[in-house]
Symmetry: C2
């Protein structure tokens, strides 16, 4: 198994990516990682000791966060991202992990790696930590806006495969993110998608459980939650913003007086430990589902452990043949409002 790790375009330097590769290779001595970026920088980050299983793919260009996605993919042929996607297409690597420009990575995955036939568009998925520690996978988090109702069924199918194979949930419960639990709730997209999801009903290996409100997401009880990319991105960022706010409120509370400062000396580390699982920098990787090979996006400022866990996501996706299973799941897609093939 070979991973392609794009070491450029994130907020952190090559050291972070090399450290992530080291961590991953310690856990999987049989795996290989090709790390893409300027060779000199990567050599310096690796240092004197040779790392078994790690090779360097020298690239001269970088796709920056400000780059226009499609143009960057077409023009920056020698960037670590384009080189990585090309390696994936040519089967020189089994999966790709990148912390670079999200839009460029998603466009590049469609242009260079290709969509799974029959699926309208890929969905960016991420595992969301829940209070019952069972976690859930939510998609789409920003790959597609203004989608069709049937696309939500496709997301449900892709998410269910992911939950079964990567998360080890035998019969995932699928929910439609909505502003109320009744089938009649929501905007036109939700009202039209609900009967399609009911018709699909989860097939043999999943079950459609109905609408779920954003308030109940973290409480647990669902394994897969589907929504359009606009809403998904919005809700994910609302979670992140509120998490940051509560961390700040906790700091303020503890610093507000001598009593609370004293208390913070004893309770502070326990609070930090509880909050850590909900830090988005630690989420690991968001897998782009619906393209022919696994592409995993890390947060721009992902730490080495977070990138290592993104590599782990890719490893498990390849091992469980997520993309193959999604391809086979196509017969479950109801026609929806249009023909199956967009």
């Amino acid at each position: 198994m070979k991973a392609l790790l794009d070491a450029m375009g994130g907020d952190n330097g090559p050291e972070t990516f090399v450290e992530a590769a080291r961590r991953f290779l310690r856990r999987h001595p049989e795996a290989e990682i090709a790390i893409a970026g300027p060779e000199a920088d990567l050599r310096a980050a690796v240092g004197g000791t040779r790392v078994r299983g790690l090779t360097i793919v020298d690239c001269s260009e970088v796709v920056t966060p400000g780059d226009e996605p499609v143009r960057a993919i077409r023009q920056k042929k020698d960037s670590s991202m384009v080189r990585g996607l090309t390696a994936l297409r040519n089967a020189d690597a089994d999966f790709l992990v990148s912390a670079g420009n999200t839009g460029a990575l998603m466009s590049g995955a469609v242009i260079l790696v290709g969509r799974i036939p029959g699926f309208d568009r890929p969905g960016l998925s991420s595992v969301i930590p829940t209070l019952d520690h069972r976690d859930l996978v939510m998609l789409d988090l920003g790959a597609g806006v203004d989608i069709k109702p049937r696309t939500l069924v496709q997301y449900a199918i892709m998410g269910s495969v992911y939950a079964r194979t990567v998360m080890g949930k035998p019969r995932p419960r699928v929910g439609l993110l909505n502003i109320g639990t009744e089938p009649s709730k929501g905007d036109r997209l939700r009202r039209e998608a609900f009967p399609l999801l009911r018709e699909w009903d989860g097939g043999e290996d999943a079950s459609f459980t109905g609408n779920i409100e954003a308030r109940d997401l973290l409480g647990g009880g669902f394994d897969v939650v589907v929504t359009d990319g606009f809403t998904g991105n919005m809700v994910l960022k609302a979670f992140e913003g509120t998490g940051d706010a509560f961390r700040e409120l906790t700091r303020r509370g503890i610093r507000s007086g001598w009593f609370s400062r004293f208390g913070g000396m004893f309770a502070g580390s326990a609070l930090k430990r509880e909050f850590r699982r909900y830090a988005y920098q630690a989420y690991g990787g968001a897998m782009l589902l619906g393209v022919l090979r696994p592409v995993i996006k890390c947060h721009g400022n992902a730490s080495a452990p977070a990138i290592a866990s993104a590599l782990e996501v890719g490893f498990r996706a390849v091992e469980g043949d997520v993309t193959g299973l999604i391809e086979n799941a196509l017969e479950e897609v109801p026609n929806g409002d249009d023909t199956r093939n967009a």
Copy 2:
């Protein structure tokens, strides 16, 4: 100044509403409150002592949370909600506060009280606490889904009037809730609304500042944030859910060992104090903007202080003539994608 307080249809009993009325009347001895509900229950809640300024409107019916909104308004003529809305229309009261069925209250406000001419539809607004303690008003939180781009400009105008008069912000900064800051970001609605908002630009008494991401909402820097009712409701509930989750994580952290329990004895109350401002049960009232008289919605399980603060919102809205100013602000509305009058 006379308030109509709908004491039915919320999670709490008449005592909570009577207690809220007492609190409000202590602060505003010149005001009057007519409280609507079954007379016997309300008399029992008031007890032996007469409350100066408080009168009872006897009603035999209740609009329940499960009622179909429009049908409930048309059929339950003797419910506290319909009696309250009718009193508002007939100018027997200056504003209405209710913790009942949100959909019924919003439909009823349009049917019985009436829209301000020229505005497509009302927007449910709420003050969101921010970390810099300047707070912001966000709308719409669920009154309208599948709206037109120009409706977002109307929300911006209504929100700006609210921010100036009720929140005392002389020149509010208005933001469009979106999944990125660049004008090209978002779904079709956002991309089409952006240039309309830019054209409006805030008029003389506000300024359009651009897109704002959900992650940055609580950080401060904006006074008015506009979005469609689906997204607004989703983001508000994501905030609520995350807030609940962090309260739970804090409890778990403190209970996780002897050290942290000891720390919690000293820091716990300071944390509670900081978190309290972000408890949605305490938000006070969500004002429905765009109808001819102030209608304020409380959370279903609002406490007496929260209901009293909703009464305060209504008081300030009447004092500041929010609805009159919104009516006058009509000339600021650009035509958008259609004629001005829907």
